[in-house]
Symmetry: C2
């Protein structure tokens, strides 16, 4: 199947592109590479060195014999997007191409506006392009479990049957997202739902949990295929961050009480979920919603697990509770449905000692590359200010 992977150079996009290519799909990566630029902005870099895009694709051809296309462009640029769809006539589009870090969106007004503009308008352009140039194309869109927030009732997959004053209807699940970034995914979901209703587009909205791990069977075939490993507090996801903190002997930083419970999944399941969605497309007019995670943990539990795993590797790790820079409930009910991907055949990689070992060992291998300025939170949800990171004055040239 001809598949465009929008944002195919990123943390989830790159291993997904490799996985889909290996599965026999004709993959074209579309990316503006802004994530690499943001590394420069944040004065941060992936723990694991990552190759340039063209080198990645070349390496994949050498290793697998498969070609992956590479298109440089921005989803805000309609001329680019329309031309892309006219030329490729994709049968599926996987849309990862959004600013994906909640803390980044909370830095200040400018970053909030950038995130909402980039994500919402980019996604709108994709919807219009599908409708105009490839109406049968299946949109597989990355959402987030964070769209739902933390209600005191069970979370369902996208929709909920409500009985009210003696009548019933099944309606979109109410949303209470916790950052300007998470809000964009809510906005996107509403926009996609409308496009499916009026134009009969087909879409799958994947409300993904927090991803951990960095390695897939494809990325480990060659060092040039390595995936990003973000460990700083803006883009690094929590388990990956804890492993790096343990590797460098820094206390694991838990925000507040640590009772924040979330859905998690292994990156090897991310790529498989995308494949399952593509192989089983939504009907015309349907916006399916799948909750894409495999297990629930509290942040405190994860920290304990990393402490244990580090201990077995002979490294003493400790936990430090920080004042929570985010505005969020630190103890709450959480029970979210996640059966639809299992029904399609997902066989989860549950969080295991061996995965923690592997992450810790990668972190230990590259620990000289860790910039310790970046392991503490610097973005405050209340002030919208980035405090802790020393912003250096540009040196005179």
């Amino acid at each position: 199947m001809k598949v465009l992977v929008l944002g195919g150079d990123g943390y989830c996009g790159w291993p997904t592109s490799l996985h889909l290519s290996e599965a026999g799909h004709e993959v074209v990566i579309v990316d503006n590479f802004v994530r690499r630029t943001i590394d420069h902005e944040l004065k941060a870099e992936s723990l694991t060195p990552i190759a340039d895009p063209q080198e990645r694709v070349r390496a994949w051809r050498e290793v697998s014999g498969q070609s992956i296309g590479l298109e440089y462009g921005d989803l805000l640029d309609w001329e680019f997007v329309s031309d892309l769809f006219v030329r490729h006539q994709p049968e599926a589009v996987v849309h990862f191409a959004e600013q994906r870090a909640a803390p980044y969106s909370m830095i200040d007004r400018r970053h909030a506006v950038y995130t909402q503009h980039n994500n919402v308008i980019g996604n709108l352009n994709v919807l219009f392009a599908i409708n105009e140039f490839a109406p049968e194309c299946h949109l597989v869109k990355l959402g987030t479990m964070g769209e739902y927030g933390y209600p005191n009732i069970d979370i369902e997959e996208g929709y909920i049957e409500i009985e009210h004053n003696g009548r019933k209807d099944t309606l979109p699940y109410p949303k209470m997202p916790g950052s300007w970034y998470h809000l964009t995914k809510v906005h996107d979901s509403h926009n996609i739902h409308f496009a499916c209703r009026i134009w009969g587009l087909r879409a799958t909205d994947l409300n993904q949990g927090i991803v951990y791990g960095t390695v897939t069977p494809q990325t480990e075939k060659d060092f040039r295929l390595a995936n990003r490993f973000d460990y700083e507090e803006v883009f690094g996801t929590v388990l990956n961050r804890f492993c790096v903190q343990a590797a460098i002997g820094h206390p694991l930083t838990v925000y507040g009480k640590g009772g924040q419970t979330r859905g998690f999944l292994d990156i090897r399941d991310t790529v498989r979920c995308i494949e399952l969605a593509i192989d089983n497309p939504a009907e015309r007019g349907e916006m399916r919603v799948f909750n894409q995670f495999t297990e629930q943990f509290s942040v405190g539990q994860l920290a304990e697990m990393v402490v244990d795993a580090a201990g077995k590797l002979g490294r003493e790790a400790t936990i430090e509770r920080l004042t929570n820079p985010r505005v969020e409930k630190e103890e709450h009910y959480y029970n979210a449905a996640h059966t639809k991907l299992l029904d399609l055949g997902l066989e989860p990689h549950y969080l295991s000692d061996s995965l923690l070992d592997s992450l810790l060992n990668i972190a230990i291998e590259y620990k000289e590359r860790v910039d310790t300025d970046h392991v503490l939170p610097s973005v405050d949800w209340r002030t919208g200010k980035r405090d802790n990171v020393p912003i250096e004055e540009p040196t005179a040239l």
Copy 2:
């Protein structure tokens, strides 16, 4: 109270500004006057001639002795917005300054993107400005009843208590809006809710029904104070359009079966609702939602009422059912709560023969100004194309 009226030159904004000024508030109108430019784009104009903004304000000073400030600027321009809040230190901001026509947002991709960008980012800038420069300021934001869509259960005011699998929570009411425009109001609501939760802003979200009428006690004091009367199918609201059709002897155009039921209100109630919201501000951290309408009618019922009223004035009016250019349910359950503004003291002007007479008489008085090219629908929800209106080639200068 010092009140900024964003979009204070528009159909609801102008009479609101006059009403608040007469009520003793210190009013500053903020507008980029794009609504006047869109008239040029659509080759349309208000049925009633409207004066230039500075002439309006000058007339009001002559008539009332009250000054209304006038600020030209765009909410997308952060330098303008931040400076505005720093200089004025408003105690309340009434935010009408959004592209408000569903059909306009459905013309094509460009108009959809314009609408979402303008409305969502403009509103974000207002939120950031309040938080940074006037955190006690009460945001009174115009939403729309169209945010809810047409669920098969009763519509509540913003939130709904849901009992699910033996647990309960009160959550934002699920949204199923019916156009790219209506979607922006849903996006705004989610963004405002978040700002109230993290920053403790105070906000009132007024989910307004369809407004009819054009005259208020203030606008009729001088011909230079006249309000706009939009009758074309893009910006004209349904009852106003029917009255113009009756005045020129055109059949009243009902889309589809005419069973589309909506909440309606008189523009004299719009201005009073805004005043009630301002006089009874939300608490810090609270986003109140009021459903701002006074009666429910189906479109078919309204057409019958206009036919009757026209008959009493000696004019025979007929009804023509058109193929529905919109994607919407033409028969549906509809029962929406609207008690909160009544609780604050709203005394509704229910739709009456005398109001219909007044509207019909205005329409008859100005019928020579009606451009008959604009009374039929031209924007198709399915194709996103504007078909019926002849777009003239620009003549050579």
